[in-house]
Amino acid sequence: MSKRAPRATLKFHMKSNADIRIGKDADLMAQLNLLVVLHHLAEESRVKAFEEKSATVKVHHVTAAAKKLLKSVRG
């Protein structure tokens, strides 16, 4: 996959406080972080869907996986 998230959007999201500044190419790390998180989320969702013996990932799979993930991903 050669997809890229819009860097400007990521920069915007990284600024909880408007005054804070974003370093050069720091948003690339944000992209990396995002990809890693999505990857984990997808994995968990897949596992959940597999548990329910469903071929597709449904919403409730994702929600359940996300709950668990958000707790773990806490810097």
Partner: protein, 785 residues
């Protein structure tokens, strides 16, 4: 003395050798090379041919006479001096010394072989050596040798080449080429050169001696066949060119004839007459394929008529017939014009349009002729036929096919093809007659006969002009609209007849307004034009007509045939009352509509009303725009009308309500979507998620993921800010992120950051993040640390 004797004997010996031995130039060379390399350290290749011969001579001399030793010794020095490049070893020269002539002759033979390759003169020069009977010998090689023996001066150049041995071959080959060229030049037939050259080359490569000797003969043999072929080809070529030339002349004649006929107003009318068939034409226009097919037929017929003479007179005949028809049409139109006084303005418009149309047609004719010229040339097949008319006819067909995507062009082609058809033998007459009949029928049906008549030509003209100027189109469209009206009139005779005249102006206005709109349906084109014309004449009328015209285009779009008829009828009905009472359009229209409803089908009226109402809403703004634009409004209106008509609401109120409704509905969802905050583009997120999930993912999970990401980013930002502040910085740096990832357990001792970077990020980003050592002891990117 001895040498002399020896020379003589040597010569004899040489002759004998040559006679007995087959041409072994290549073999000898190889052997000589081997020997040379063994004996001599000098360039073995150069001496191969001569050396080989020398060796033979030596042996034979030794066998026959043992005298050669001393003379060769003598001549070693001389030989070496005389032929330093040729021979390296004096003993070799001794053999030749048996005579220098022998050796030289041998060398010359080789050289001559090459010379022969390069040019015959060498051989020829060698031939006339009376001293060497060898030359007269049957064997070519021998002859060559003899020739060589005789001529020493001529072979200075070849000697060097010969000495080179292997190089000789190459050089000989080269020479052969040059020789071939020379020979070719000498030869009258150049075609032979090509054939002979390769052959000669081949010979050269194989056996120089062989080829050299036989080249002359080969050349001769080679040449003959090639010459024949070439002549044949030339003949073919000539034929083609001749044909083309004829076609051009014929085309010019045809063009002139067309031009002569172009200025005639009848011509335009005749075209119009053809357009009368538009009901069928219109249908055809909708289906481009049909039109092309139609034209293909005439084209085929034209192709059959491959005789310019026959075609030309036919065209003339047809044109005359066309003129007659045109005149008839004109009379009919004139009569119709006189009938209606209310439509004076319209008439004026029509007349203007007619004039314009005529002018346009003239231009069109020219264009047609031009087009014909062009496509005729393009058509290889047709060009062969070489009939100016054929070309002209073909041109329209081509133009038809080319302009297939463009309905207007198709229409034009229709006109052109019609013209061409007329030109064709018999067809044109029948078509024109049919047109005339149709025209007359329509005229009778509707009082506004002139309108009908004018319309059809207008359609045609507009269509033909479609490719051309817009203003013309407008005028033409008016006419076209009228023609369209004719079409529906036919379907609804009683109603249409009365309403036809007023409708025409309306139609013209509508058609004019939408000239720019290129729609598959002719009706759409015609109606907008008609509308446009109306506006020019009178605003009120324009409103009425626009309303009706708009309805027409809209309806037409939906159902070209049915809608057109209905819309046209409606327009006619509406236009009539509108024209009659320039007062408020809506009331008149409503009244008219009511009346129409009673009289005509409700659907039609509804459509009209819908269209009108919708148009009213849009017309007010659209009119102003239409006047300027005259196309987008109609398009919009048409679309609106089309949608409205499709619904076919029975009451006007519903129509009114329905009109504005769709617009509002469209806007709302957009606004809602825009207000929604998307953390990241859905496409990106979903694609990434699907990729990671490796399973089918329901698309409705996106909102959930969105929410999750929202929370995540919020947390992320807070953490980063804390980290930066902790580092007493005001900017979030990569280090902050690294810390974050470590705390998130994404990065561990066993999983360094760089690995993650390599794993997830694309190459461009990786370069930016991971320092890479480059030349010059530089690290990219620069690390602040």
């Amino acid at each position: 003395m001895d040498s002399v004797d020896e020379d003589v004997s040597a010569r004899d010996l040489l002759r004998r050798v040559l006679h007995t031995e087959l041409p072994r130039s290549p073999v000898t060379r190889s052997t000589t090379h081997v020997r040379r390399s063994a004996r001599l350290n000098r360039t073995p290749g150069l001496e191969s041919p001569a050396v080989a011969l020398r060796h033979r001579l030596k042996r034979k001399l030794h066998e026959s006479t043992q005298s050669p030793l001393p003379p060769p010794k003598r001549q070693r020095s001389t030989g070496g001096k005389t032929n330093p490049p040729a021979v390296a070893t004096p003993p070799l020269y001794d053999d030749d010394v048996t005579t220098r002539g022998l050796l030289r002759g041998i060398i010359q033979m080789d050289t001559e072989a090459s010379l022969l390759m390069s040019g015959q003169p060498a051989v020829q020069d060698a031939d006339p050596y009376p001293d060497s009977s060898v030359s007269s010998a049957g064997e070519k090689t021998e002859g060559l040798s003899g020739a060589e023996l005789s001529d020493l001066t001529l072979h200075t150049e070849p000697l060097t080449h010969v000495v080179r041995g292997l190089s000789r071959r190459k050089t000989q080959r080269a020479f052969s080429v040059s020789a071939f060229e020379r020979q070719l030049d000498e030869l009258p037939d150049k075609s032979v050169e090509e054939g002979s050259v390769p052959q000669e080359k081949q010979d050269v490569s194989q056996d120089l001696d062989f080829s050299a000797g036989s080249k002359s003969g080969l050349n001769l043999t080679l040449k003959s066949p090639f010459v024949e072929k070439r002549t044949e080809r030339a003949g073919l070529k000539r034929k083609v060119t001749s044909r083309r030339l004829c076609s051009v002349d014929v085309l010019d004649e045809a063009v002139q004839k067309c031009l002569e006929q172009a200025p005639l107003p009848d011509y335009a009318e005749v075209q119009d007459g053809k357009t009368l068939e538009d009901s069928s034409w219109q249908k055809f226009t909708l289906g481009l394929s049909d039109v092309t097919e139609l034209y293909v037929q005439p084209a085929a017929s034209t192709v059959l008529q491959k005789k310019d003479d026959t075609v030309v007179p036919d065209a003339e005949m047809e044109r005359d017939a066309e003129n007659e028809e045109e005149s008839a049409l004109e009379t009919v139109e004139e009569e119709n014009q006189e009938n209606k006084q209310n439509y004076v303005d319209e008439i004026q418009d029509v007349l203007d349009s007619e004039s314009v149309i005529q002018e346009n047609k003239d231009c069109d004719v020219e264009l047609v002729s031009q087009e014909e010229m062009v496509p005729s040339s393009q058509e290889a097949e047709h060009s062969v036929s070489l009939s100016p008319e054929d070309d002209i006819m073909l041109a329209p067909t081509q133009a038809m096919t080319e302009s297939a995507p463009e309905p207007q062009d198709v229409e034009e082609h229709d006109l052109e093809t019609e013209e061409d058809i007329e030109e064709e033998n018999g067809r044109g007459d029948s078509d024109t007659s049919q047109d005339l009949e149709r025209i007359t029928r329509r005229a009778h049906r509707s009082e506004g006969g002139r309108a009908f008549l004018t319309v059809p030509p207008g359609q045609r003209v507009t269509k033909s002009l479609g490719a051309g100027l817009n203003p013309r189109e407008k005028d033409l469209l008016e006419l076209g609209n009228r023609s369209r009206e004719d079409v529906p009139d036919e379907e609804v005779e009683p109603q249409g007849s009365l309403l036809s005249p007023p409708l025409y102006p309306a139609a013209g206005v509508t058609t004019e307004q939408s000239p720019q709109q290129r729609e598959a349906s002719l009706d759409g084109e015609d109606l907008p034009v008609v509308e446009g014309t109306e506006f020019t004449t009178s605003e009120q009328r324009s409103h009425e007509t626009s309303l009706s015209g708009k309805a027409l285009p809209d309806t037409e779009e939906d159902d070209p045939q049915e809608v057109e008829n209905q819309s046209e009828d409606e327009n006619m009905i509406d236009s009539e009352p509108a024209n009659q009472s320039p007062e408020p359009h809506s009331p008149a229209q409503e009244e008219e509509e009511e009346e129409e409803e009673e009289e005509e089908e409700e659907e039609e009226e509804e459509e009209e009303e819908e269209e009108e109402e919708e148009e009213d809403d849009d017309d007010d703004d659209a009119h102003s725009e239409e006047l300027s634009m005259k196309t987008p409004a109609f398009v919009k209106q048409k679309k609106m009308i089309a949608s409205a008509s499709a619904q076919a609401t029975p009451t006007v109120l519903k129509e009114l309500n329905s009109g504005p409704a769709p617009q509002v509905v469209k806007r709302r969802p957009r606004q809602k979507r825009e207000t929604g905050s998307d953390v990241l583009p859905k496409s990106y997120v979903m694609s990434v998620f699907k990729h990671f999930a490796k399973m089918k993912v329901a698309s409705d999970v996106y909102p959930v993921i969105n929410e999750i990401l929202k929370k995540y980013f919020k947390r992320l930002a807070e953490d980063l800010e804390v980290y930066a502040t902790h580092a007493k910085r005001k900017t979030i740096e990569i280090e902050d992120f690294e810390l974050l990832m470590r705390r998130q357990r994404f990065v561990t001792d066993s999983m360094p950051v760089n690995i993650l970077i390599e794993k997830y990020l694309p190459l461009e980003y990786r370069k930016l993040l991971i320092p890479v050592a480059t030349s010059g002891n530089k690290v990219v990117p620069n690390r602040r640390r």
